[in-house]
Amino acid sequence: MSDNRPQPTRSEARQQEVLQALEQARPSFESRLQGAGLHPLKATGITILQLNVGRVCNQTCRHCHVSAGPGRPEDMPREVFEQALRVARDPRIGTVDITGGAPELNAHFRWFVAEARALGKHVIDRCNLTVTQEEGQEDLVAFLKEHKVEVVASLPAPDKARTDAQRGEAVFDRSILALRDFNAAGYGLDDPELPLHLVTNPVGAFLPAEQAGLRERWQEQLLREHGVRFNELYTITNMPIGRYLHWLEAKGQLEPYVDRLAGAFNPVAAERVMCRNTLSVDWRGYLYDCDFNQMLGMTVDHGAPPHIRDYDPDRHHGREIVTAMHCYGCTAGGGSSCGGALE
């Protein structure tokens, strides 16, 4: 199958090299899996199909592992969405999780959401909030509500200083406007069909705060200072990939950060890494164990076909996962996945 794998881009190859070099002086991730009785790491069955529809975004956040931004050309064409719908028919896949970039900017996003919902799938939109304030997106919140899409939105901190430091000037104020729009539509209140969850990544080179207790503090502060509400708060570890990897290198923080991640290895978190129940698709239709492997150009392997057109339930559901040093980001402390830390 190796003949139809994509060539890693120059940037992907360089990132892989940097991560491999770190392995010289540290225990490999695989050796830690071995110690935890989890090697080789295998998927337990795909329940979530995650589409990264491209790298186009209205923001250029500093921690972005996708290196997304307004000028990026990667944008999923309709043909790949159609292939994804075929895969999503697999009854074991209950959730279609859409990310980017800002996925809502893709021209086929709304059509695809409607189709996935018509298949009876639960749909998650990973929303950066400010996209709802962009021209042409005035009816986005209403659209998401109409299709009962779960919204998982990024906000690094409940204040302007830290949010803008990570995500750009005025992002906090625009995010609050977005949260107000979502609340006005009924999102983030008590309706279980309209959940609005927030995701926070640390604003720098440190591990996320414990999830317990944090949500209540955020809820209290955001309600008191801005009159906005949300449901859950997920903490996610920054991955040493993409723009964030460059930032770590420029700050001389790469090695200490990876040591921090590796030193906090938690076997319980390792057992519950998201690649075990997720299959990740890129804008061209290539398949990965997760969005992080996707950004490193590391497609699924170990006998699982690398393109969605060759989706094969027998070979994908229980596939062996492709791991490397960056995986320490998923197993540090309370763990980290698209659903946040372990409860």
Binding site: A157, D159, A161, R162, P202, F206, A209, E210, G213, R217
Partner: protein, 114 residues
């Protein structure tokens, strides 16, 4: 030309803290038994204790502790504003304590003056 400069405090030396226990290990163990559990959640939360520790670190001017408890504070979800306020508390206490010594000065003045 790279020049090796000897200093009493170096960031990488923080990792050597445990080596302080290489002599008199029983005393070190007793300290760790006290310090470790104390810093966990109790009547006060870990966050509150980290803020106190950060303020004391400044008051005592220990760069190792400032480094450690700034990191710990970030990973406990403390904001830079909260941490800075804790440092101001330490600073205000030091100022107040200095001024409070004025009582001794005044008492002495009263004793010695008409």
């Amino acid at each position: 030309m790279a020049e090796h400069k000897e200093t009493y405090y170096a960031a990488e030396d923080l990792a050597k803290f445990e080596q302080v226990g290489r002599s008199a290990p029983e005393a070190w163990k007793a300290f760790m038994k006290y310090y470790g559990p104390l810093m966990q959640d109790g009547h006060l939360s870990k966050r509150e204790k980290a803020l106190i520790a950060l303020a004391v670190s400044h008051g005592e001017k220990c760069p190792y502790c400032i480094d450690s408890y700034t990191r710990a504070g970030l990973e406990l979800g403390l904001s830079p504003d909260e941490m800075a306020e804790a440092v101001h508390v330490a600073a205000a206490m030091r100022a107040g304590i200095t001024l409070a010594q004025g009582i001794v000065m005044n008492n002495t003045l009263d004793k010695l003056s008409f």
